[in-house]
């Protein structure tokens, strides 16, 4: 993991985190928010019941590098691609990382839909930070 020297990095990674849709399970996303913050990133935590529109507003206002959305209700196949498309439609080159319960067999479909990373239960802080950093590095 990067050391806290990242705090003086002139361009720390900025991440917008949100629960997209109705699912209220926010334990994982809050833990991820703290892991990313402790990993030297800037976290904009939007919380519950966000829409693609509210997330895009935040991405524009905060000049975010990555969007992280979390789903534990089996909605990822619908909502994941929808988020990717909405960002593209808005002309934003911002990768999407999904966290939550995503069966392995869905990962190829997620990748094909343009989702930059998937984090499942038990992911360590190092894995979370590395995944988000790798996603940020894919920006053109």
């Amino acid at each position: 993991m990067n050391d806290p020297g990242d705090l003086t990095d002139p361009t720390p990674v900025r991440v917008v985190l949100a629960k997209l849709g109705l699912d209220g399970h926010d334990r994982g996303l809050k833990v991820v928010a703290r892991m990313l913050r402790d990993g030297g990133m800037e976290v904009v935590y939007l919380g519950l019941r966000q829409t693609t529109d509210t997330i895009i507003d935040a991405v524009e206002q905060e000049d975010a590098d990555v969007v992280g959305i979390s789903m534990l209700n089996a909605g990822h196949l619908t909502l994941g691609p929808r988020m990717v498309e909405a960002l593209a439609d808005a002309g934003l080159d911002v990768p999407v990382v999904i966290g939550g319960i995503v069966p392995d067999e869905d990962r190829p479909a997620m990748a094909a839909a343009g989702v930059a990373g998937v984090l499942g239960p038990g992911a360590s802080a190092d894995e979370v930070v590395a995944c988000v950093r790798a996603a940020a590095d894919t920006r053109g």
Binding site: G24, D26, R27, K30, L48, T78, L79, R82, S124
Partner: protein, 528 residues
């Protein structure tokens, strides 16, 4: 004991007494050792498996399988749109219909859900909170249209809105009007449904959101006291409703901490109800609870190892004196539970009940120095939380709980505990088998998961359109107007208006929209 049948002998034939040790015994105040004198010797816990997915017809089939496999209570999981009071054709519902539970839009779905099941004979638990009174009204209408009187219905409505603001986050309206809906259902079932538990005060979700065992216990009992204060303020007599209050706890991995938590819960409730709220009916003092094993403890890695975790957690619930139990399926960290995994989970309970002999004597752990110390310690720590909330509420637990919700105190405490745990696991200070130690042997290829297709959503939307087409729109509008008028009168019980509305085939979403116009919407302060 000579004529005792073999059930109450050990495997080797040694006869076992109903209880060991000195008083207070099980069934005696303060019920630390259990609410019944002979506990599971006379009646096992209810093996109540939580189920719900797809359309009502899909879930109905799962219900019938569970009853045929020896389960004796039903427990309904609703999908996210239903839990949030939105219809399947709402924008918010896209991608969520029937996925994490069953979709219910109108009373017609409720009819399908319980088709072929005698509602006068089973007990049904419904896990629903924000729109709980609407779903209760639907259940009553289904029963009555099928010839079963509401007074014969047995079951439990979760209807615990306070923990939604603290942990599970499935709230719709702000806390105060929501608590009014809770007291309305309490008053209604107290008067008309004597076999119904109107609120299941739930620590489960608080724990799943990341709390410690002590926080789970303390926040849950504080919420219970808050409902008591609200109901008394609404004019109910404590001994009229308190016997039907029930609780729902998590059973996690730390075996003796869990047992101590369950024992402390009974003791605290009994003392507070008698000494603070003046209850005199013994049934008001007895804390009865449902237990579910800890979903959050299950791992996606080597998921079959979860069978062992569930068995140990379930045993803690039984040794803690639970009245009913749901055992989690080993594949829940991967997907919604498959049929095979649900069967293994139910069989786990049956092994505990019929093979281990732990049911032969009440509170077999009572008198253990460690268990008694743990019970005392958990109680002492919970009392510190009550004192804090009482401070916040200037003497009122109800006001203290409202204050803690408004300020984000509960959510912050829970998030702190969750992060502390994750850091310990990350640092290797806590071993999670298969995750940060003993990781070889994971075989993702062998998994057979339950999948819910997109066709569920399409089917459900068609179903909703059909019901809407067939109903009398003027009747729907008239009943919704009454819901609106009654909602504006804080002292009017909303249940009669809700019964009329759902009988006229008003949808869950229409009723919620009507109430929302009167009550407003709750948006939480986002804390990490």
């Amino acid at each position: 004991m000579d004529d005792q049948d073999h059930r109450f002998r050990t495997l080797s034939g040694i006869p076992v007494d109903p209880v060991y040790g000195d008083g207070p015994l099980p069934g005696e105040f303060p019920y630390t050792r259990g609410v019944h004198a002979d506990m599971y010797r006379s009646r096992l816990w209810t093996m109540r498996m939580f189920a719900g997915f797809g359309t009502a017809t899909d879930t109905n089939a799962r219900f019938r399988e569970l009853l045929a496999a020896g389960g004796n209570g039903l427990s309904t999981a609703f999908d996210m749109p239903t839990l949030m009071g939105r219809d399947s054709d709402h924008d918010w519902a896209l991608g969520e219909v029937g996925r994490a539970g069953v979709a219910v839009d109108t009373v017609e779905d409720m009819t399908d859900l319980f088709a072929g099941i005698d509602l006068g004979a089973v007990s049904t638990s419904m896990t629903i909170n924000g729109p709980a009174p609407i779903l209760l009204a639907m259940y009553v209408v289904v029963a009555e249209e099928g010839g079963v009187a509401r007074g014969q219905l047995g079951g439990t409505l979760q209807n615990d809105i306070l923990k939604e603001y603290q942990a599970q986050k499935e709230y719709i309206f702000p806390p105060r009007p929501s608590v009014r809906l809770v007291t309305d259902t309490m008053a209604f079932t107290t008067a008309e449904m004597p076999r119904w538990n109107p609120v299941s005060i739930s620590g489960y979700h608080i724990r799943e959101a990341g709390s410690t065992a002590v926080q789970e216990l303390a926040f849950t009992l504080a919420n219970g006291f808050a409902y008591v204060e609200a109901a008394v303020a609404a004019g109910l007599d404590v001994d009229d409703f308190a016997p039907r209050l029930s609780f729902f706890f998590n059973s996690h991995n730390d075996f003796f901490e869990e047992v101590g938590k369950f024992r402390a819960a009974r003791r605290i409730w009994a003392r507070w109800m008698r000494d603070r709220y003046g209850a005199t009916d013994e049934r008001s003092l007895k804390l009865r609870f449902h237990t579910q094993t800890a979903g959050v403890s299950l791992t996606a890695q080597q998921p079959e190892v979860n069978i062992a975790r569930v068995a140990i957690q379930a045993l803690a619930g039984v040794l803690g004196g639970t009245q009913s139990l749901h055992t989690d399926s080993f594949d829940e960290a991967l997907a919604l539970p498959s049929e095979e995994a649900v069967r293994v989970a139910l069989r786990t309970q049956q092994v505990i009940a019929h093979e281990t002999g732990v049911v032969n004597t009440a509170d077999p752990l009572g008198g253990s120095a460690y268990v008694e110390w743990m019970t005392d310690e958990v109680e002492r720590r919970a009392e510190e939380v009550f004192a804090h909330l009482e401070d916040l509420g200037e003497g009122s637990l109800l006001e203290g709980v409202y204050a803690g919700i408004d300020s984000g105190w509960f959510a912050g405490e829970i998030a702190d505990a969750a992060y502390r745990y994750e850091r310990e696991v990350n640092a290797g200070e806590r071993i999670v088998v298969g995750v940060n130690e003993f990781t070889e042997g994971d075989d993702p290829e062998s998994r057979r998961l339950l999948r819910i297709g997109q066709d569920t959503e399409d089917l459900q939307r068609k179903r909703l359109a059909t019901v809407k087409q067939a109903r009398d729109e003027a009747a729907v509008a008239a009943t919704l107007a009454r819901v609106s008028a009654d909602a504006a009168q804080p002292t009017t019980n909303l249940m009669p208006a809700l019964l009329d509305a759902v009988r006229a085939r008003a949808t869950v979403g229409e009723v919620v929209d009507t109430l929302e116009a009167e009550f407003g919407t709750w948006v939480e302060r986002a804390v990490i």
